[in-house]
């Protein structure tokens, strides 16, 4: 069985799911599936990330659906996390 994710890894998974999408925009339902969280759990994290200015709520111009998008700060966090992950994986710590 896979190891339980810590808080930072969950945040990384959420932000990565958004980054991997076209135009870096994702529907809430898709984010729920990708993040592998319960609805309440995802809502808590989304609120935290919105408060931290890492993601923003927006509207799809064509369908007018609610979407989440990555901010500059969110992109920077992903960058730093990837570097640190690569560094720590090199040493296996």
């Amino acid at each position: 069985m896979a190891e339980r994710r810590n808080r930072l890894e969950i945040i990384y998974d959420i932000l990565k799911s958004i980054q991997d999408k076209r135009n870096m925009m994702i529907k809430p339902t898709h984010l729920l599936y990708k993040s592998n969280l319960s609805h309440d759990g995802m809502k808590r994290y989304i609120d935290e990330l919105k408060a931290g200015n890492m993601i923003a709520e927006t509207e799809d111009p064509k369908t007018k659906n609610k979407m989440f998008t990555l901010t500059e700060k969110g992109c920077k966090f992903l960058e730093e996390f990837n570097k640190v992950k690569a560094f720590t994986d090199s040493f296996g710590i």
Binding site: L8, E79, E80, F81, N82, K83, V84, A86, F87, T88, D89, S90, F91, G92, I93
Partner: protein, 272 residues
């Protein structure tokens, strides 16, 4: 003749001169005691300095430059480890940072120690400080910092959890530093053991991850462990001191290459 051989030669000359002086003196000569004591002090000072410097004469200063480079590389790794700690907020990254920082400090100290000898500053300092030998003090400090750094890295790399075991290992280092007599030999033997175990641990990580970065880390520590063998063999052939430094340069170069790959990682993703 290597630097160690040169100083030993000077000591032999000094001793022969002293014995010749003794033979010429009559025991009732009132200046005999004062000259005797001064001669002994000069021999002791010269003998102590041998502990601090090694290798062929032409390698003077180059070893200090190499050590400064190693100090800079380890400092860079320590700084990035601290960045990892700030992001992840896990103590192991803080100790990892401390390990590399100790190594960096150790390299700076030995580099300073050697430079002070090469620039001829030491003679004056030793005279002013009387019995206290700054050269040996810095050398012992270098040994303590390096071993402490290696220990911290080993504890983190091997994921040692038992506090008593960690405390025991640190106690051994402190005891060795405080109560050793053949510093050079014992330091390099212990360093070889610690680095070999670290290289082994990083090899297991490389087998698991199969990435170039983990391969670079394993190769780096393998080179550093190998360098210790050459430092030990230096006793038979001073030129091996140079080879040891070259291996260390290669080892830290590989570590720096790994770091630069990690830093350039995001830039590659952006370009895509």
């Amino acid at each position: 003749m290597g630097r160690t051989g040169y100083l030993q030669h000077q000591c032999v000359k000094l001793k022969k001169g002293f014995l010749g002086f003794l033979r010429r003196q009559k025991p009732e000569n009132e200046l005999f005691s004062a000259k005797f004591i001064n001669a002994i002090r000069r021999i002791n000072i010269k003998m102590d300095l041998i502990v601090s410097i090694n290798g062929p004469m032409w390698f003077n200063t180059f070893d200090s430059i190499f050590q400064i480079l190693f100090a800079v590389v380890t400092l860079i790794i320590a700084a990035f480890s601290y960045k990892a700690y700030k992001l992840m907020q896990e103590r192991k990254y803080k100790y990892f940072c401390a390990g590399f920082f100790m190594m960096s400090a150790g390299f700076f100290v030995i580099s300073l120690s050697n430079l002070l000898i090469y620039m001829g500053v030491y003679d004056g300092i030793v005279t002013r400080l009387g019995g206290l030998n700054l050269a040996n003090l810095l050398y012992v400090l270098h040994i303590f910092l390096m071993l402490l750094g290696y220990m911290l890295l080993l504890v983190i790399a091997m994921r040692l959890q038992q506090r008593r075991l960690i405390a025991l290992l640190f106690a051994f280092i402190i005891l060795f530093t405080a109560f050793s007599y053949q510093y050079y030999l014992k330091f390099h033997v212990i360093s070889l053991m610690l680095l070999a175990f670290m290289a082994w641990q990083f090899y297991d990580n490389y087998k698991e991850k199969k990435g170039l970065n983990s391969g670079l880390v394993f190769s780096s520590f393998y080179m550093l462990a190998f360098a210790e063998l050459f430092f030990l063999a230096m006793v038979f052939m001073p030129l091996l001191y140079v080879v040891g430094h070259a291996m260390q340069l290669l080892g830290f170069g590989l570590l720096l290459a790994m770091f630069m790959r990690v830093e350039s990682l995001t830039k590659e993703k952006k370009r895509r």
